[in-house]
Symmetry: C2
Subunit: 405 residues, 2 copies
Amino acid sequence: MRVVQKFGGTSVGSLERIRSTASLIERSVRQGHETAVVVSAMSGETNRLLGMARELCEQPQARELDALVSTGEQVSAALLAIELHKRGIGAYSYTGMQAGFFTDSRHSRARIQRIECKGLLEHLERGEVPVLTGFQGVDERGNITTLGRGGSDTSAVALAIVLKADICDIYTDVDGVYTTDPRIVPTAQKIECISYEEMLELASQGAKVLQNRSVELAMRNTMPIHLRSSFEDVSGTLVTSEDETMERASITGVAYNRDEAKITIRGIPDHPGIASDVFGPIARTDINVDVIVQNVSEDGTTDITFTVPRGDFGPAMKTLKDVCKEMKARDVKGDDTVAKVSIIGVGMRSHSGVARQMFKTLAKEGVNIQMITTSEIKITVVIDEKHVELAVRALHSAFDLDAKN
Amino acid sequence: MRVVQKFGGTSVGSLERIRSTASLIERSVRQGHETAVVVSAMSGETNRLLGMARELCEQPQARELDALVSTGEQVSAALLAIELHKRGIGAYSYTGMQAGFFTDSRHSRARIQRIECKGLLEHLERGEVPVLTGFQGVDERGNITTLGRGGSDTSAVALAIVLKADICDIYTDVDGVYTTDPRIVPTAQKIECISYEEMLELASQGAKVLQNRSVELAMRNTMPIHLRSSFEDVSGTLVTSEDETMERASITGVAYNRDEAKITIRGIPDHPGIASDVFGPIARTDINVDVIVQNVSEDGTTDITFTVPRGDFGPAMKTLKDVCKEMKARDVKGDDTVAKVSIIGVGMRSHSGVARQMFKTLAKEGVNIQMITTSEIKITVVIDEKHVELAVRALHSAFDLDAKN
């Protein structure tokens, strides 16, 4: 079997952790698997480096920041290779540049364009372990680039695809994806197998175990991801295509996100193009708008309500007050104490009545729904933040996700 | 003017020092000089990285060590570029790989073979500052290499040569080369101008201000080096070709080295090839033999005496006892309490009587000379270590090197 193993910052966060991680790799090699490795920087290192840069300059050059922080993975890759060598395993560290991870030139948020990895295949064929720095690459002009926070997951999946690996193991500090946040619902269960689509919806709802780009990439290339713990030797969650998953219950998980604020522009004179009049200025300030609801009222005006990340609430309100004046709308109202709760599952395509059951459950608990949005495999409601735990617990029970002891 | 400025570890040892160093570069740029920069790792960083590697493994792979420690310069180069950018100077960090510093594949002691730096010239022509990582390069197969400790000096001189710079400024934590160690002779003077040959002899005698490889490289290409302090804004020592130096006194400086031990093999049956019989086994243990004296005695045997670095005394004695037995020599004697004192100066070529004056001066002070060796521009004596200060002071005075107040 050919496998790519990715280890995050906590898995290489100290020399002790590097030794444990080397043991996991060693086991894979001794079992006869062709094993390639992708590592993040030692936990805390990227922030240490960024801290120095920011102390010198509020807005450091993006090109230089990338050159600076990319050293973090280079250090952990070299140290891990040294530890593997000690164990008699031929291991070779590769920077993004050495491995030929070519990206575009958008520093700090580059996208991988192609990977040249002929040398890597030869290592695998000889039973050697290439240890690649995640998160980074090089543009066509030879500048060092980085893929943005969490980019190592994407590096690992991209490498697995190019190497035609059988699976991409992503080791992290959690042992898998849960039906919901176990801090809120102690009876939450680990999901053994989840589809790419469900994983994407879960991640966008705050369950940040895998970077979305990596899941999208895996989905487009049908590369299975095994998300598992580098601390405990247990099976984690397999992220794979829907066909591979078994006959399923209607709902796979319940997600929530408190990092939300809600803004309503009321009394907008209704005419074609108002949405772009509202969201154009917001987009230009780089604010991500999420759930959007538009109602037409009777007097020829319309209301638009949408959510933004809570940190962007202030700037968004400021921008919209100007927009409101220009559009001759009545007023802008905001609320930064809302939250989103979602139920997610490919099963809802074939199970009818899922939405009805969700709304009934929330009503029974006295949770008022402020906004609703739906997709093929997800129903999201915006509610008052204070009801989050109540709503999550109620939905987890109602859809039969609680673990049975 | 086109200038390469090299800054050592103490010159980039903290964010505060990086700011001061940026000021020196900024001044050069504002004066209209085309300025390229070479930096070392922040002081202490290389040892921190090596420490982690050694904690994992006693003998880490050389390839991985190079990948590991090369991050040190990458960090300081990026930080310095960030600080320069803040001051409105277009600055771009380059790793050895990015700048095309191609070396052979001898990890941790690689030699530069060629430098591809077309992009760098374009920066200079636009008034921008390329900031290169010293000490490192890349071999033809794309492996990261390092040039060995102090290799950044060599990087800087090599870059100056390839860029056809007018001068290579090497900024360090001393303000120049002195006629002798000011800790021993308070009246020692800073040498304004010194020839490459003298600098090489001084360095080999323990005055480790510049890496010898960098001086040799500068000499072969007649690249003047200005050795100066990054802490004080004063002129330092210009290292240049002999023709450029003014009419000189007979002696330029007095050097010493305590790190010496003396070994004598007595009663070796004299026949051709005994030197290689003695020094072959020593060379195989990687021990550097220095001053060598051979006497022929009357009974058809010979004595050979030589010096080794004091740290190699034990291993050398051990090797030589076996050699002695094989060669049927009488015995081996050693003394690890000796030191070398040298007078150095291109002027001794044209001033007669320099050697006589040296021996007379030492005799007058009651210093017994155990061995003598001479070159074109240097006379070295091996003496009892306890006489070092006395000898250095006496010679410094006798050759009229004391500063006049």
